[in-house]
Subunit: 431 residues, 2 copies
């Protein structure tokens, strides 16, 4: 008997050639970004840190946006990514639901972040930019940007949240190996950083503050632009290759999803998976799309929907989103990529209009199910991805109890091989 | 224009269902293993630490040995592995040779070691063994064994060379996560370990000594067997899935190899790639098979062919092989998997009869070409694998100069994501 094929792999020719823009599908149009004074932000206000092409994508009302040839070429290095039927996980859980995960961990950076990093590096290169700044929480985005900057011949400086840099020293090594510069945030290189250090020299740093530092530097230098790894509309746009591929992959085996599950930090992984399904959901298909966040940073489940800044210092525009407030200091949990006070405006709008749902997961459940995945599928998930995994497993067990098994798809947004310090202190990896 | 497909992926149905035993192909029969007193070792002498099935494989004269169904099922989790045409590497090197790498890094442990770990765990389980001991240098073998022990429900204790454990703390985390126990070697748990610590409390440890500890413990406990990750004939046998797949993959695109290149520590990765091609080489096909080792541990290029023990304490039989002597203390190079005084008897015999060649590579060249691979293919190789990579690149450049480009295949025996400390101190990953 030949072994069962658990991986659904699309040929290179099935690589999506366009991005799917979810903005026109929103039940209500997104409110405009606002200046601190409350005026709508004009495209020219953003021109100091973003190229025109990305600003246009940020507000585009076209559903389909072509992927430029050089970005397609870069994506084709690792895409399409496999959709994996997790049969051994199903068996370990004792459930009859079909569980699939979209394996974004096969990218050069080990996470979905490469999808948008390649695109953003390309558009900045095209605009004549020679230097990029960004922030990184867990290190996945910084790694992706470092690699993308190398691909398109641009310099990169990454402000890495201090606690994450300490927890994940290998991330810095990779970024340096790829030619990028890495500073712990808060740093002495910016006003925002110096101010934070003066107020509290022992601060662990936050993603919001690291964004402030990167934006401040980009705004102050004409050769330098800023890139963001999540939250914004154009970032989610670039991630829609995920959902488009999942759709094709499920269709190729005659499967339809009942649940789409992704972890939620800034919203790009979730938005990238779910975006291409929004029209299906609105037209009545029974798909529950669930954004999963840590109990300790419950932006979507306990935050307030309001206009708020994307960073700590208030350099970014005010955006309509769920937020815990820019002053929220999340605890030093291991899922560094989920330590963010805000949420993507697109995801916030979808949640507010009940197109999607949100749920939160304890750190204990994350690592418990991460170990079950390691023991069954021999895959060690990033702590962020373990949130989606844990929700999927808990849901599959609940469906089993209710006698209503179904088709559950979650994104393995990244692997955990560079996050093993998290596992070391999680209680599931003792001698 | 659709993106070019660089990965040659075989369907699951093409997974080799048998191992290829190279012993019958050797130009001269392998000399028998000897006791310290110089008497041929009988199968029963090995029965204290190995199951009968593996002892039979060690001396089998059958060319083809069926892979048992449960092992096939375990291998099918990640096999067949991709053969990758490294077009961007070729471009970065400016060569017209076709360079392919066999990607063994996609296994559950991130290296080729899983191929034999699954087989050895299975055969021990079948023999009623409930506990396994082993040693690990770089940590790749220990990781593979921990995962295989989990797959077949056996306890595992891993003696990890002390310097490697310090350089690669994440390896221990994974082994612990998978349920295995990890001790730094030399340890206080064995006579061999205590003796070494008494002689030199600051010793870095060696693979040879870690083997002594694992063998000593297995020999002294009836519930415990010993497993070895390289050197022995049955280990190379299990690795021949690599070469068999490469053969099919090259044939599927009408390609024939001119050079087969693999790094050499104990010999299993090299033997696994080259074994299935030995008959082709002997029948006149022009294939240069090159075993690549570090300049600092030049077993094949500067060692002596003689009967020598596989470990430091002399617990293993004497085997006919190239050796630097059991007392050789290799420097603390980063390719921990290549810090071994001896060589596989099979590889030694092939070298002695000039069926294959050997070459050595400097640490500087390893990391130089590793960075070129990272910058072109976005793959970070294990320091061990970087030896094969570097030799391949140097050879391709030489062939280019001579106007004789060809088809070069090397094994990416493992990824380097858990070896980033090595990169950190290599000089290629500075801020």
């Amino acid at each position: 008997m030949p072994p069962i094929e658990n991986k659904i792999i699309l040929p290179k020719s099935e690589l999506p050639t366009s991005w799917y823009n979810v903005l026109p599908d929103l039940p209500e149009p997104l409110g405009p970004y606002l200046t601190p004074g409350g005026q709508p932000v004009s495209p020219s206000d953003l021109a100091g840190i973003f190229p025109q092409s990305l600003i246009e994508q940020e507000v585009s009302d076209r559903s389909v946006i072509q992927i430029p040839e050089p970005v397609l070429e870069a994506l084709s290095i690792w895409r399409p990514t496999p959709l994996v039927r997790a049969r051994r996980l199903e068996k370990a859980l004792g459930v009859s639901s079909r569980i699939y995960f979209k394996d974004e961990s096969v990218s050069p950076s080990g996470s979905h972040k490469s999808n948008t990093a390649m695109a953003q590096a390309y558009f900045n290169k095209e605009a004549g930019v020679t230097r990029l700044t960004t922030e990184t929480g867990a290190g996945q985005w910084g790694t992706a940007l470092a690699i993308a900057a190398k691909q398109f011949g641009i310099q990169a400086r990454v402000y890495m949240v201090k606690i994450s840099l300490e927890q994940k020293p290998y991330r810095k090594v990779i970024m340096n190996l790829m030619g990028a510069e890495v500073l712990p945030s808060p740093s002495q290189a910016t006003d925002a950083g110096r101010k934070a250090l003066a107020a509290n020299p022992d601060t662990l740093g936050t993603l919001g503050l690291a964004i402030s530092e990167a934006v401040e530097e980009a705004a102050g230098r004409s050769d330098t632009n800023y890139v963001l790894g999540s939250v914004l509309n154009h970032v989610i746009l670039h991630q829609t290759v995920i959902g488009q591929e999942v759709k094709k992959q499920l269709a190729s085996i005659g499967e339809k999803p009942n649940y789409l599950i992704a972890c939620h930090g800034g919203g790009s992984n979730f938005g990238g998976l779910v975006g291409p399904f929004v029209r299906d959901i609105l037209s009545g298909q029974k798909i529950a799309a669930i954004a999963v966040e840590p109990e300790s940073c419950p932006t979507l489940t306990k935050g307030e929907f309001k206009y708020d800044a994307g960073d700590t210092a208030g350099f970014t525009p005010l955006m309509p989103m769920y937020s815990l407030g820019t002053g929220f200091q999340p605890p030093a949990i291991h899922a560094g990529g989920l330590r963010y006070h805000g949420a993507a405006p697109i995801v916030s709008a979808l949640l507010k209009s009940k197109v999607i749902e949100a749920a939160s997961i304890s750190a204990e459940d994350c690592f418990k199910f991460a170990q079950i995945l390691a023991w069954s599928e021999y895959v060690i998930p990033a702590p962020e991805s373990a949130h989606a995994l844990a929700k999927t497993c808990l849901l599959a067990q609940e469906l089993e109890k209710n006698g209503t098994p179904g088709c559950l798809v979650f994104t393995l947004s990244g692997h955990g091989l560079l996050d093993l310090t998290a596992y070391q202190t999680s209680g599931v990896a003792n001698d």
